[in-house]
């Protein structure tokens, strides 16, 4: 482990301990925030008792479907937009301001289109995530070095060979960024949809606990979401670093 990682871990551990101390010594009111250790113990209790299993399965399966759909369709849409420069310039302002649209407002519309089932929530996560993938795809395709394209022409590669052997590998770091963001935004969309609108899943459980003044459950669930999302992101980050290092060597 290098120095940067050690300092980083110290910073994180230090902040958690500081919050713990502030809570324990009563500087922060118990009604506002619970000590992190208490959140963790209660979370463990919830997980062991199986009370939240159903919510977990529901949320995660929705996120997974939204994620896969957004990555696949986002890549295809990005490739199409990239191939048509005029369409692209017309789309740019919309892509640039996309994230200020609270997609959740379309929940009632999706309910009337898809029925009162899991699909309205999946659509929210999907719509939130797909733009990240489209933008990343555009970025990646933009940054394929012209030299490589020339190389493909010199070797008289077919269009499919050029796409598979030249364009995709050259654009892959950007595509990977898109995949990471799409995962994050799928989570954000699905959880926010559950939180504000729907009647199930982890987001709903947190809002319900807030309304019922059940701080223990609320903070335990928040901690759970934070841990899971951070763990998945760190795993992707490490994998990405490894891929980049291999590229650097090759």
């Amino acid at each position: 482990m290098n120095r940067v990682t050690i300092v980083r871990l110290c910073v994180i551990a230090g902040s958690v301990l500081a919050v713990e101390a502030l809570c324990r010594f009563g500087v922060i009111n118990r009604l506002t925030l619970l000590p992190p250790s208490e959140m963790a113990t209660y979370l463990l209790h919830l997980l062991v008792s199986g009370e939240i299993n159903q919510a977990i399965v529901q949320t995660f399966s929705n996120v997974a479907i939204a994620f896969v759909l957004s990555v696949v369709l986002g890549f295809l849409v990005g490739a199409v937009i990239h191939a048509i420069p005029r369409l692209r310039r017309a789309c740019d302002p919309f892509l640039a301001s996309y994230y200020s649209v609270p997609v959740f407002v379309f929940y009632p519309l999706f309910v009337s289109l898809f029925g009162l089932n899991r699909w309205p929530l999946i659509m929210i996560g999907f719509l939130f995530a797909i733009t990240a993938m489209v933008i990343a795809t555009l970025n990646g395709l933009d940054r394929v070095p012209p030299v490589l394209l020339k190389l493909a022409r010199v070797h008289r590669m077919s269009r499919s060979a050029e796409a598979l052997r030249i364009v995709l590998p050259a654009a892959s770091p950007y595509l990977f960024t898109g995949v990471k963001l799409a995962l994050a935004y799928s989570f954000i969309g699905v959880l926010a949809g559950e939180f504000i609108l729907s009647g199930g899943g982890l987001g709903y459980a947190i809002a319900y606990a807030y309304d019922a003044f059940d701080n223990r459950t609320m903070y335990a669930l928040m901690l759970f979401v934070l841990i899971v999302v951070t763990a998945i992101n760190s795993a992707l980050f490490i994998w990405e670093q490894r891929l980049l290092r291999r590229r650097g060597r090759g």
């Binding site: 980083r8 925030l33 309910v111 504000i196």
Partner: protein, 267 residues
């Protein structure tokens, strides 16, 4: 849509500086944007035919929006959102640029902070909103805090990356001319990283707006977010669709302006 990639591609590359070519290009661009908007309106109309209970059609919504723009009630809510948004935007821009410059300049702290910032950027902050409410209480401060939580991190990340990736020759020049840290910041650092910062501010702008609106949708009695959630709860589809349309127009208009600014700075 009748789009001819080859032609526009060559227009892209050739870049004749004659006034007529420029004029033709901007005319074509206008036409393309118009076609895209027209296509979106057609899709909207189709969706409306499919589910008339959940949305109003384009023409009716336009009428309702104009009515709303003339009503006092709408402006009261818009002003409430505007105030919260303005404050959050100010705090996330100034704070974000300051923190980003500091973390970028001090390489070690930047390296320590980078993954933490990415993690903060990707966590679903909505789930933390109850905590924000408990800390700040109901009212404008919670909304502002939530907006800042959403908006500040992209500004920090973009600014920090810009400073870290700055051309070393520029910093060497500053040292050769023996500029003071203040002069270095204002004469070299900021002009060099400005385009990236504007990109960060654009993303920050969008996410701050999103944060404020979400904040208003949950546990608030004022603002456009409240109007939206209230429209859902009492099934006032007309006002709901119109507020969403106005919000979208505002977002796209601001996005267009910021994007144009960014393009100009990059040149």
């Amino acid at each position: 849509m009748s789009v001819i990639p080859e032609e526009s591609g060559s227009a892209y590359v050739a870049g004749h500086d004659s006034a007529r070519a420029t004029q033709r290009r901007s005319l074509q661009r206008l036409l393309d944007s118009f076609l895209l908007v027209a296509a979106l309106v057609v899709v909207w109309q189709l969706v409306y035919w499919k589910s008339e209970v959940a949305i109003t059609g384009p023409i009716e919504t336009a009428k309702t929006s104009i009515e709303l723009l003339g009503s006092e009630n709408f402006w009261r809510h818009a002003l409430a959102s505007g105030r919260a948004f303005g404050l959050s935007l100010l705090m996330s821009s100034v704070g974000g640029v300051a923190v980003g410059l500091a973390l970028g300049a001090h390489r070690f702290s930047g390296a320590v902070a980078a993954p933490i910032l990415t993690a903060l950027y990707t966590i679903p902050k909505v789930t933390l909103y109850p905590m924000v409410l408990l800390i700040f209480g109901l009212g404008i401060s919670a909304k502002v805090a939530f907006g800042v939580m959403h908006g500040i991190i992209p500004v920090v990340i973009f600014t920090m990356d810009a400073v870290r990736n700055i051309n070393p020759v520029l910093m060497k020049t500053a040292r050769v001319f023996k500029l003071s840290p203040r002069e270095t910041a204002f004469r070299i650092l900021i002009p060099a990283v400005l385009p990236e910062i504007v990109t960060g501010l654009r993303v920050g702008f969008s996410l701050t707006l999103l944060g404020v609106i979400i904040g208003e949708m949950f546990a608030s009695q004022q603002g456009l977010g409240f109007m939206i959630i209230n429209g859902m709860n009492v099934h006032n589809v007309r006002s709901l669709t119109a507020v969403v349309l106005l919000l979208l127009l505002f977002a796209v208009a601001s996005g267009t302006v910021l994007l144009a600014l960014e393009r100009r700075l990059q040149r």
